[in-house]
């Protein structure tokens, strides 16, 4: 998921008799499946939580273009290069829709960007892992976009209208990315011994980071309970992780790739795969800034922003001159 460990504002789900009249009406609308629109009344905590969640999701789309961009100039065929570029372009577009959705809550894209660049806001842990061989690009599309979809498909039904509509647009493209990623890693898995090695190497490195994308278990979290009551979180992290594993294992088998988990096996009784948890201490380290690429990713974003400052200012200055000339002419 592109939004992880979102701290839900407030103190957890309130009883009805603790709620104000407005809060009760608001909760009733959500329970009835109505969409909340930007001009509607909403609790401050709902607004604050959504800004964190949508903002982090948007940042993830943007930072996520870096590990993929890492292979654009080395893509092995014109076709694969076009597919990868189109994907990265889509991700930048997702960032744009999501920033627009966040803006309806009263925060600007520039403010959110400043918070990303200062390290105050986070992006998904997954993008702090490197892309080291070409098959990684396949693995990212297949596993990373695949994990993102698990969360984003239910979020199409989220209570906040602009977020829900952004998810509907985004999901269509994400499932495309997943199929194309799978096709790219399939070509490697079915290829020469060297290509097979690339595919397995990608699988070995991306499996656990992909499982981490769902975040640690939150079944007992009061914060998650509140987000679920507000319908800005639809499933628990464990539910989504299980769904992802169940979907992915047969796909890996089809490719002839080994999932790096000796405990992975089908559990007839549960009707699900049993699997090992990722190393959560590694996850918390990545979140804290100690992942393999955190420093480089932030440096790259900061450099792009700083280098682009003269361009943004130049464009703004020109737009002002034109507007002034227009006023003068009227």
């Amino acid at each position: 998921m592109y939004a992880q460990m979102i701290k839900t504002a407030g103190t957890g789900v309130k009883d009805r008799d603790e709620m104000s009249e407005e809060e009760r009406k608001f909760q009733d609308r959500i329970d009835a499946g109505e969409k909340i629109e930007p001009k509607d009344w909403m609790p401050d905590d709902y607004r604050a939580t959504l800004i964190r969640q949508i903002g982090q999701h948007a940042h993830s789309e943007i930072v996520g273009t870096l590990p993929e961009g890492n292979w654009v100039t080395r893509a092995p065929t014109l076709e694969r290069k076009a597919i990868l570029l189109a994907k990265v372009q889509d991700e930048a577009g997702h960032g744009l829709y999501l920033y627009c959705a966040a803006e309806t809550l009263g925060i600007s894209r520039d403010e959110l960007t400043e918070d990303l660049l200062s390290g105050k806001m986070k992006y998904s842990s997954i993008f702090n892992y490197p892309t080291l061989n070409w098959a990684d690009i396949g693995a990212v599309g297949w596993l990373v976009d695949g994990a993102a979809i698990m969360n984003q498909v239910p979020l199409q039904r989220t209570s906040f209208g602009p977020y829900s509509r952004a998810m509907i647009r985004i999901c269509k493209e994400e499932s495309f990315h997943q199929r194309q990623g799978y096709d790219a890693i399939r070509a490697c898995a079915e290829g020469t011994p060297a290509q097979k090695k690339m595919a397995q190497d990608a699988m070995n490195r991306f499996w656990y980071p992909a499982l981490m994308m769902f975040g640690p278990s939150d079944t007992d979290s009061v914060h998650s309970a509140q987000s679920m009551a507000w319908k800005i979180k639809i499933n628990t992290n464990d539910e989504l992780r299980q769904k992802f594993v169940d979907q992915t294992v047969p796909q890996a088998e089809y490719l002839g790739l080994t999932i790096p988990d000796p405990n992975l096996k089908w559990n007839e009784e549960r009707g699900h795969y049993d699997f090992s948890q990722p190393d959560w201490s590694e996850f918390f380290n990545v979140i804290k800034g100690n992942g393999p690429c955190n420093v480089d990713r932030m440096a790259a974003r900061n450099k792009a922003w700083d280098d682009g400052e003269w361009v943004r200012e130049g464009m703004l200055a020109h737009a002002r001159k034109k507007a002034a000339a227009k006023v003068a002419a009227e």
Partner: protein, 253 residues
């Protein structure tokens, strides 16, 4: 030089221009000054990759040695590339990238406009598709050159520096040699030399609006479109672009 050889060379020139410049633009992936520019640059690079597939695909057919577009893109060495030097020049800052884009788009749109009436139906067909995309590229790059030229003091200075740096690479787009003469005689493509006036008028219009000065010196660096002498930059670009194909020649991707 046979007509077929000349046509092959001509198609390489068209396809290598879009291949190499498209590659350069794709180097911006994820690091543009604003999100909208990230999207627009990716879009331009994508258009160029598509055009490359058409031009080099046709080039391979004309050559008749069983080379497809990928084979031509990833397995030739620098001396076999036929793009103008302008396309391989490094990105520099965003101003240099967008100035290079405008100087090329202006030529590209005029040239493709002539190819619409090519006596070779395949050439006309590719030009038809490409010219729609390129009209949009030109609109965008011209608009950005104007905005940044006539923006702040700093953006103006950077755009002027970019124009001064790149202008010596403009002239090569209007040179003609035996390939061009053969193409012109066969009605396949115009002699580039005949397009300079139209180009100069277009560039002068945009630069005036951008408050930028076109350099007086018309000296032209050349050697790209005939492969005689590329810049040092091309080899590095090819190292990166061709690496996987060269390292794993028996792989299918």
């Amino acid at each position: 030089m046979t007509r077929q050889d000349a046509l092959f060379q001509f198609l390489l020139r068209m396809g290598d221009n879009t291949l190499i410049l498209g590659h350069r633009i794709s180097e911006w992936c994820g690091i543009a000054p604003v999100l909208e520019e990230d999207i627009a640059l990716a879009n331009t690079a994508l258009d160029f990759i598509g055009q490359t597939q058409f031009w080099l695909g046709y080039a391979g057919e004309v050559e008749g040695k069983d080379q497809d577009a990928d084979r031509l893109a990833f397995h030739r060495d620098a001396w076999d590339f036929r793009n103008v030097l302008l396309c391989e020049m490094p990105n520099g800052d965003f101003g240099q990238t967008i100035m290079r884009q405008f100087l090329f788009d202006a030529w590209h749109s005029i040239f493709l406009g002539r190819l619409l009436k090519s006596s070779d139906p395949r050439v006309a067909e590719i030009a038809e598709k490409a010219s729609k995309e390129v009209a949009y590229h030109l609109e965008r790059s011209a608009g950005t050159v104007v905005a940044l030229g006539d923006g702040t003091e700093e953006s103006h200075a950077r755009m002027q520096a970019a124009l001064d740096y790149l202008y010596p690479y403009v002239g090569e787009m209007f040179l003609s040699d035996e390939v061009d003469q053969q193409m012109a005689e066969a009605g396949i493509a115009p002699d580039p030399a005949t397009l300079r006036e139209e180009y100069d008028a277009l560039v002068a219009r945009v630069m005036a609006e951008a408050t930028l000065n076109i350099p007086e010196n018309r000296y032209a660096h050349k050697g790209g479109r005939d492969g005689y002498m590329h810049t040092e930059h091309l080899g590095h670009l090819l190292c990166e672009m061709q690496w996987l194909q060269r390292a794993y020649p028996d792989a299918k991707w």
